[in-house]
């Protein structure tokens, strides 16, 4: 392809990917009066009133805290359980591992709406509805298939010789896992952890149905149910959107290569 055409195409791809977010960013710093007409496109003056409003008028900080706690704990749980299982499947090679892995992959395709009614009843019965613990368990369970799958892929790539040497030196399987395999698995753990964290941060349906108050409500639910008395507060929604977007987008951009590796490994390696 000729160079100018290529650059034009690439610029169009970037513009198309970024435009809605940039528009929201502009909206979030426009004075309220300027939101009532279009044009102007660019804000006449930059204001932070919408950001102040969501933290003062609405408990946005609490939503952020809930989201961070739930996403971080669910990610840790999924990584811990997932790497143990992935290691056992890839290196201990138990009989029935192919069937186990197939079942795990099948569970990863489960549509959330299919289990929302049973989980609602189960969480109510267990006293876990509208609690952070309840969301952590559900998110970790839903992220586990991906975590097990990616970690099994990753451990498969670690030479058997390393594992066997640790066993010959007298380590138990668990000891070899902690002392030898886990340190080697840091890149795999990072990639898996990033995907799981972003997945948990963005999850909506379970957060909507399993929470009913600020005790456990997360950012996506707060954004979806944004309170508006008479008219929709577009400036405040835009400010909330920008803040909700920063953690996952920052992670995705900073750890770009790990995210890409995890995304493609999750889908392509059979």
């Amino acid at each position: 392809m000729r160079r100018p055409g290529l650059w034009l195409g690439l610029a169009a791809v970037c513009a198309w990917s970024l435009a809605p977010f940039l528009w929201q960013l502009l909206t979030s710093v426009k004075p309220a009066a300027e939101l009532e007409a279009l044009p102007p496109f660019l804000p006449g003056a930059i204001t932070l009133v919408h950001y102040e409003a969501i933290f003062a008028g609405h408990p946005f900080a609490r939503l952020l805290l809930n989201s961070f706690i739930v996403s971080a704990l669910a990610t840790l749980l999924a990584l811990g359980f997932g790497s143990l299982a992935g290691f056992a499947l890839a290196k201990l090679r138990p009989p029935g591992r192919a069937a186990t892995l197939a079942a795990v992959v099948a569970l990863s395709m489960l549509p959330p709406v299919a289990t929302v009614s049973p989980l609602f009843l189960l969480a109510s019965a267990a006293g876990l509805r509208d609690t952070l613990v309840g969301l952590v368990l559900v998110y970790a369970g839903f992220a586990l298939p991906l975590a097990v799958w990616l970690m099994a892929q990753f451990f498969r790539g670690v030479p058997d010789a390393l594992y066997i040497a640790a066993r010959v030196d007298g380590c138990s399987a668990a000891g070899a896992f902690v002392k030898v395999m886990l340190p080697l698995a840091v890149p795999g753990l990072t990639a898996t952890g990033l995907l799981v964290f972003v997945f948990c941060w963005n999850e909506f349906l379970y957060a909507l149905t399993l929470t009913s108050s600020m005790a456990a409500r997360t950012v996506p639910v707060g954004i979806a149910l944004f309170p508006g008395l008479h008219e929709v507060p577009w400036g405040e929604i835009a400010a909330g959107s920008v803040i909700a977007t920063l953690p996952p987008v920052a992670l995705a951009i900073v750890f770009q290569r790990r995210v890409l590796a995890g995304l493609t490994a999750g889908a392509l390696k059979g």
């Binding site: 290529l6 143990l84 369970g141 839903f142 909506f204 929604i237």
Partner: protein, 284 residues
């Protein structure tokens, strides 16, 4: 160590994962089928009614409307995502040094929470104040017009999901040996012929995987439509997941709502089976 213990070892290590999976995914999946066979209003006693709810589905026009919307949404959005994704992947494959920068931009729609991107698009779709009406040159009620609303939701989904498809296809493109493309060029094939006869057939398995992955996701679409239209106007954008949610949590009918959820499960299950077939078909 005794041999029996060694045989148990892998299962001991897997037990935390398997226990959690059983508790929050596998058991609820069986439980939802059981719920669908009951007459069950929330907070009331349950009564076993067998397949009544499934017979009721057959005569429920709103169910057929939701099924049609779901299939239309999935078909159109996945087709557009594949076409656009392939074009973007071909561009990115030639990006050279600017690659890292452009990957960063392309990852943005993927990383943004769906609910948030729906809010962004809702603002752009505003009839009076939205930037899209401005571009159209007149106020358009994108989300309030029954003929437009589902397409507006599709456009948002295409924006959000095309990056994933593009990045997947790019990985597939990069796995194609360069020698094959060079050989075709040496034999005098033009760019288009090389693409049609060499690149596309070699990329076909990855395209299929992307299609199945995206279909499974699109068939259960909930977040985007919940925020954009809530299923309206007049159920014109109501998908199966939205209908199931409304029956479950607005009408509090856990029996019929669970039957709708089982239908979503069955449809995505079929797509998942297709995926399993593809994997066994030998994709590296």
């Amino acid at each position: 160590m005794r041999p029996g213990a060694a045989r148990l070892e892998p299962w001991v290590l897997m037990s935390p994962a398997l226990a959690l999976l059983a508790a929050v995914t596998a058991l609820p999946m069986l439980y939802v089928v059981w719920l669908s066979l009951q007459q069950r209003a929330l907070f009331r006693a349950a009564q076993f009614t067998g397949f009544d709810h499934y017979f009721r589905l057959a005569g429920d026009g709103r169910f057929w409307n939701a099924l049609g919307n779901t299939l239309y949404f999935a078909l159109v959005s996945v087709a557009m995502e594949l076409a656009l994704g392939l074009a973007i992947a071909l561009l990115l494959a030639r990006a050279g040094r600017a690659r890292a920068l452009i990957y960063g931009a392309v990852l943005v729609p993927w990383a943004i929470p769906t609910v948030v991107s729906a809010r962004m698009w809702e603002w752009m779709y505003q009839p009076e104040l939205g930037v899209l009406s401005f571009l159209a040159g007149r106020p358009v009620n994108w989300l309030g017009d029954a003929a437009l609303a589902l397409h507006a939701a599709i456009a948002m989904d295409v924006w959000k999901s095309t990056p994933f498809v593009a990045l997947l296809l790019l990985a597939g493109l990069q796995a194609i040996p360069r020698e094959l493309v060079h050989a075709a060029a040496l034999d005098g094939a033009g760019a288009w012929t090389t693409f049609r006869r060499v690149t596309l057939p070699l990329l076909a398995p990855v395209i299929l995987v992307a299609a199945v992955f995206r279909s499974i996701d699109a068939l259960r679409v909930f977040d985007a439509i919940y925020v954009l239209t809530g299923g309206g106007p007049a159920n014109a954008t109501e998908t199966l997941s939205i209908y199931a949610y409304r029956v479950l949590f607005q009408m509090l009918d856990f029996g019929y709502g669970s039957a709708l959820a089982v239908v979503v499960l069955a449809i995505t299950g079929m797509a998942a089976l297709a995926y399993a077939r593809l994997l066994r078909g030998g994709i590296e």
